[in-house]
C-alpha cells in the first residue's frame, strides 16, 4: 500500500515502527514517484531545520537607504551628462517652442537627437492633474532604461518611470515647467522644456 503524506512525514521524522518504515523504504525503491515524494519531504524538513543567520536591523536599514530619495535613477538623472534634442515641427502642434501651455485639448510634441526620437502627448487639466504619454524610439538597439521628469525651478526629479519594452511611457505631473529626460543605454537625452498647465 502506498504511504500517505502523513506517513512519509512520520517516516522522515523517525516516528514509524521498524516494519512500516521498511515498507515505506521498499515502496520508495519500487516507485520513482514515491522516492520523489520522500526526497521532497526530506529536503524540505532539512532546509526548515536550518535557520540562517539574519543581518542586524542596523544593517537592514542601511540597505533600505541604498535606494535613496527617488531612487538611484533620480540621482543618475540629476547628475547625467545630457544631450539636448531638437524639436520636430508637427502639423498638429498647436504651440511651438517651449511646449504646452493652457487649454484643455491634448497637445503633441516631438523631438529628435542622434540617440533617439521622443514623441509625447500632454493632456489633462490643473484640476485633474496632467498626464504625459509618450514613446522613445532609440536610433540604435539601445534599451530605454528610464524616463525622468525634472522640474525647472529646483532641478528635482519629480517623476521616474520605466517604459515598457516598446519604449512607451506615461508620467503624471502637476502644473509646472519641466525637462523630460530619457535614459538610453548610458546616454541621457533631454528635450525642449515643457510648460504644463
Amino acid at each position: 500500500m502506498n504511504p500517505t503524506i502523513d506517513e512519509i512525514i512520520a517516516f522522515e521524522l523517525g516516528e514509524l515502527g521498524p516494519e512500516r518504515a521498511l515498507e515505506i523504504r521498499n515502496a520508495a525503491a519500487a516507485s520513482a514517484s514515491q522516492q520523489t515524494m520522500l526526497d521532497r519531504v526530506s529536503r524540505c524538513l532539512g532546509a526548515l531545520r536550518v535557520e540562517a543567520r539574519k543581518p542586524s536591523e542596523v544593517v537592514i536599514k542601511a540597505a533600505y537607504a541604498a535606494l535613496g530619495p527617488l531612487g538611484w535613477w533620480g540621482k543618475w538623472f540629476a547628475n547625467a551628462k545630457r544631450t539636448v534634442a531638437t524639436l520636430i515641427p508637427l502639423a498638429d502642434m498647436v504651440r511651438p517652442a517651449l511646449g504646452l501651455r493652457g487649454g484643455s485639448e491634448p497637445c503633441h510634441l516631438a523631438f529628435t537627437s542622434s540617440i533617439a526620437e521622443v514623441d509625447i502627448r500632454v493632456e489633462g487639466s490643473d484640476r485633474d492633474g496632467w498626464t504625459l504619454r509618450g514613446q522613445v524610439d532609440p536610433a540604435s538597439e539601445g534599451q530605454v532604461a528610464a524616463i525622468g521628469l525634472v522640474r525647472h525651478d529646483d532641478g528635482e526629479v519629480v517623476a521616474l518611470m520605466t517604459p515598457d519594452a516598446r519604449g512607451r511611457f506615461t508620467v503624471e505631473c502637476n502644473r509646472g515647467s519641466f525637462d523630460l529626460l530619457a535614459r538610453v543605454g548610458d546616454d541621457c537625452i533631454v528635450g525642449p522644456g515643457i510648460v504644463v498647465g
Binding site: 502523513d6 512525514i9 524540505c44 532546509a47 526548515l48 535557520e51 544593517v59 540597505a63 535606494l67
Partner: protein, 178 residues
C-alpha cells in the same frame, strides 16, 4: 504577496516601500552566502551592503525576475571573495569541512532551497508558522506541553496539526519552485 517583478518595477520608479520589500524578502538569502563561505560578522555585513548597492545599480538589467535569487547568490559570492582578498584573508575561516568542499553550485542550490522554505514559512503565517518554528527551527524545541499552552491546542492535536501545516508548507515551496 507582491511578486519580485512588481517590486522591481516599483523600486525602479523610486518606490521606497517596494525596495524595502525586496531587501526584506531576500535578507536571509543574501546574508547566508558570506556566512556559508565563512566570513566574520563584519564581512557578512559589508557583503550584504555591497549586494544591495549592486542590486540598485542593476535593477533595470535584471530582465528575468525569476532569476533574482540566483543573481543575488552569484553577486554575494563574488562580493564575499572580494572582501576576503581586500582584507588579506585569501581563504575563508570556515571550520566546517563539509561546507568547505561544497561546490558553488551546490551551495547556491542549498541556500536557494533554504530561502524558499523559510519564505514559505513566513507566507504560511499564523498558528502553522508558530508551530513549525517551535518544532523544527527553535533549538532546543520546546516540549509538547509548552507548545500546547502557547498555541492553545491539545497535546493530542499537535501531531496532526503539524502534518497539515507541513503539507501546506510543501505546497507553498513547490509553488515557488523555479
Amino acid at each position: 504577496m507582491e511578486t519580485d517583478d512588481t517590486l522591481i518595477r516599483q523600486a525602479m520608479n523610486g518606490d521606497q516601500a517596494a525596495w524595502n520589500g525586496l531587501v526584506h524578502r531576500y535578507r536571509r538569502l543574501v546574508y547566508s552566502v558570506p556566512c556559508s563561505i565563512g566570513l566574520p560578522p563584519e564581512g557578512c555585513d559589508d557583503v550584504f551592503q555591497a549586494v544591495y548597492l549592486a542590486l540598485v545599480r542593476n535593477l533595470t538589467t535584471i530582465r528575468e525576475c525569476k532569476s533574482l535569487p540566483k543573481w543575488l547568490i552569484t553577486t554575494a559570492n563574488r562580493e564575499s571573495w572580494r572582501w576576503l582578498r581586500r582584507n588579506g584573508t585569501p581563504t575563508p575561516v570556515h571550520t566546517d569541512s563539509q561546507r568547505q568542499s561544497e561546490s558553488p553550485a551546490d551551495m547556491a542550490e542549498r541556500l536557494e532551497l533554504q530561502h524558499r522554505v523559510h519564505q514559505a514559512l513566513e507566507e504560511l503565517g499564523g498558528r502553522c508558522e508558530k508551530l513549525l518554528r517551535m518544532l523544527f527551527v527553535d533549538h532546543p524545541s520546546p516540549p509538547y506541553a509548552a507548545i500546547s499552552q502557547v498555541l492553545g491546542i491539545p497535546i493530542g492535536s499537535i501531531g496532526p496539526t503539524r502534518n497539515r501545516c507541513l503539507e501546506k508548507l510543501l505546497h507553498l515551496v513547490d509553488k515557488d519552485d523555479p
